[in-house]
């Protein structure tokens, strides 16, 4: 295994009696787009500040290329940050802002000006060098902040919710631009956000955080399809989460019925939670129904209808359907076995992966024999 570029080992951060980070470990590899995703106050910005060197961590170690950097001050770390409020220097022009780090490094003026021009071109602000910061729009300021950071040619760029102050349309455009920029530069981005759509759209890997802990890490698809617990399932996308229990391997019971599923390795009769994404539920007639529900309401969302319904056990369901239905009508719902995702209560990410491995191996051999 290659050495990770940045590694946090058992990092804990406390302010007074308040614990912000609880024993966080993570590793970042070169050239990938990472996202720290979590609700506000979960400690994601604290991780960023620890890596940037703005705060000393209470316990644990931070490594850059295998070297411990806990005691290295921010101005001597080879990472750069795009701040949430952009933190552009108001007393300088756009070009002076971008040139700031290079001036500090005492780069010769002509070379520096070339680099600044290149960086401004990269963020498509070539003609804005002489503008005052106050004369720029939010999106332009944000791009200046990025130019100011990447002109330093860092190996890691830390971005602290840089899109949160932009309007929805601009935010979408900037998502594409950031992803594109990261791929062109080939450097590692560590992006902090509370917006799950943003995280899913841009990242190679996501760390989902809550209350100072990393709950799950993995590719957007893996996290969306196989959330490890109730919090992740609820936070990432929309979902129907119902209590149930395991009947046997590949058989799960909820709503007083037993269904086929693709999960195993859980003792029978153990209480579990099942997750079904609203887009995996299909409306059907009552004869083909796996579940029967009564439609409570529906909202037209443009590309789909968002339908609220209740089953005979009193559980409410959220369904996304391209087809409209009638309020108050009883309809059937159907889904595939692999649309059901089973979550054990209090299972941690490592346990989940270990369990997955045991039965996927069994499955693999079974297939080979067949």
């Amino acid at each position: 295994m290659t050495q990770p570029m940045i590694e946090l080992r058992h990092v804990t951060q406390r302010y007074g009696t308040h614990t912000i980070l609880k024993d966080v470990s993570l590793a970042l590899e070169s050239g990938k787009f990472y996202t720290l995703l979590g609700p506000s106050g979960c400690g994601k910005t604290t991780i960023l500040r620890a890596i940037g060197g703005f705060d000393q961590v209470t316990a644990g170690d931070i490594f850059f290329d295998g070297k411990r950097v806990n005691d290295l001050p921010a101005n001597r770390r080879n990472v750069n940050t795009v701040f949430q409020d952009y933190a552009l220097f108001p007393n300088m022009t756009v070009a002076q802002n971008v040139a700031f780090g290079l001036t500090i490094k005492k780069m010769p003026a002509d070379k520096r000006d070339d680099e600044v021009a290149k960086a401004l071109k990269l963020v498509r602000l070539s003609d804005y060098g002489n503008r005052a910061i106050s004369a720029l729009s939010g999106g332009q300021q944000q791009r200046v902040a990025i130019a100011r950071a990447i002109v330093m040619q860092p190996r890691v760029l830390l971005l602290d919710e840089p899109l949160s102050a932009l309007d929805a349309k601009l935010r979408r455009a900037m998502q594409y631009e950031l992803r594109d920029l990261q791929q062109r530069l080939g450097i590692t981005f560590l992006f902090v956000t509370h917006d799950q759509e943003e995280a899913l759209a841009m990242s190679d890997d996501i760390f989902v955080m809550n209350a100072g802990e990393i709950l799950q890490s993995g590719s957007p698809v893996a996290i969306y399809n196989e959330p490890v617990n109730h919090f992740v399932a609820d936070f990432i996308g929309e979902s129907n989460i119902l209590p149930g229990h395991m009947v046997a391997d590949y058989q799960v019971s909820f709503d007083n019925r037993t269904f086929e599923c693709v999960d195993a390795g859980i003792p029978s009769n153990e209480p579990i939670e099942i997750v079904i994404r609203p887009e995996d539920l299909t409306l059907t007639d009552l004869d083909h129904a796996k579940l029967k529900v009564t439609i409570d309401n529906q909202l037209f969302r443009g590309d789909y209808y968002e339908i609220g319904a209740t089953d005979d056990q009193g559980h409410s369901w959220l369904i996304h359907s391209v087809r409209a239905t009638v309020e108050g009508q009883q309809v059937g719902l159907t889904f595939q076995p692999d649309d059901l995702h089973v979550m054990r209560l209090h299972e941690r990410e490592a346990d989940f992966e270990a369990r997955l491995e045991t039965y996927e191996e069994v499955e693999g051999t079974a297939h080979d024999e067949a």
Binding site: G52, G53, N75, D85, F100, G101, A135
Partner: protein
């Protein structure tokens, strides 16, 4: 309603400026008292500029004002920076309160205590004692003018500077000082005006042979008003008008430049 408010405003300005204009008008009057206007003359201005004692006092006053406000601005800036840096809330509040107490305590008390302080330490009363006491009562003003500006500064600015490789010293020189410069300038001008027109504190610590304008005017007024004082007031009034006008033009220039760059962006 609008008319009423305008009339009120005019009345207020009349009350504020009439005494000054009255004083200045008599500086052009022949004769030696302010009882009757006797016809136009430049005589009092000629007297004023031929009075070496008066001119020396004006020079001393300006010197004390400039020197003390420069030193007070320097110390006050460092003080504001240090109060702002103090992370412990209690310490910061105590420091700030100690600063504010000096602002609100009566000049007479400050003057008397300086007199006792200087005589105990056997500091000769004169230029030094006046300068020191002016610096002392100007520092809190400077601190109060700079602190709001520091609070306005986003802490992430300094993080960003550090992030780009700036040392603490470079952060101070390139980010903090330029950012708080308007506050420093305001503090300096406030200190200058406080020093120029301070009477109570100065009165206690001048001693013999050294005097400032306010003290001199006071002692002359006790002997009966002399129209030379009126002439001096006229000169001072024009001087402060020019100062205010200059400051206004400076501000206008800044605003216009900002507006122009804003227009260029659109």
């Amino acid at each position: 309603m609008k008319k009423l408010s305008r009339v009120y405003l005019v009345l207020v300005f009349i009350v504020l400026y009439l005494p000054i204009l009255y004083l200045i008008a008599y500086s052009f009057s022949q004769g030696t008292t302010m009882t009757n206007y006797h016809g136009f003359t430049w005589q009092h201005y000629r007297d004023l500029f031929a009075d070496p004692r008066m001119l020396a006092i004006v020079a001393d006053t300006l010197l004390v004002a400039l020197l003390s406000s420069l030193i007070a601005t320097l110390i006050g800036t460092l003080g504001a920076l240090s109060i702002h840096r103090t992370s412990k809330r209690v310490t910061r509040d105590v420091l700030l309160s100690l600063n504010n107490i000096l602002m609100v305590s009566p000049d007479v008390i400050i003057g008397a205590s300086f007199l006792i302080f200087f005589t105990t330490l056997k500091v000769p009363l004169g230029f030094t004692s006046v300068l020191l006491s002016h610096i002392a009562f100007e520092i809190p003003i400077v601190v109060l003018m700079i602190l709001p500006r520091l609070r306005e500064m986003s802490p992430s600015l300094l993080c960003a500077a550090a992030d780009l490789g700036a040392t603490t010293r470079q952060q101070l020189n390139k980010i903090i000082i330029p950012f708080i410069t308007p506050g420093i300038m305001a503090g300096f001008f406030m200190a200058l005006t406080y020093s120029l027109d301070d009477f109570a504190v100065t009165f206690f610590v001048t001693g013999n042979g050294f005097s400032t304008l306010s003290v001199e005017i006071y002692s002359r007024a006790r002997q009966g008003i002399n129209l030379e004082i009126n002439a001096l007031s006229g000169v001072m009034f024009i001087f402060s008008l020019l100062l205010v006008g200059g400051y206004y033009l400076l501000q206008q220039g800044n605003a216009k430049r900002r507006q122009r760059s804003q227009e260029a962006a659109q």
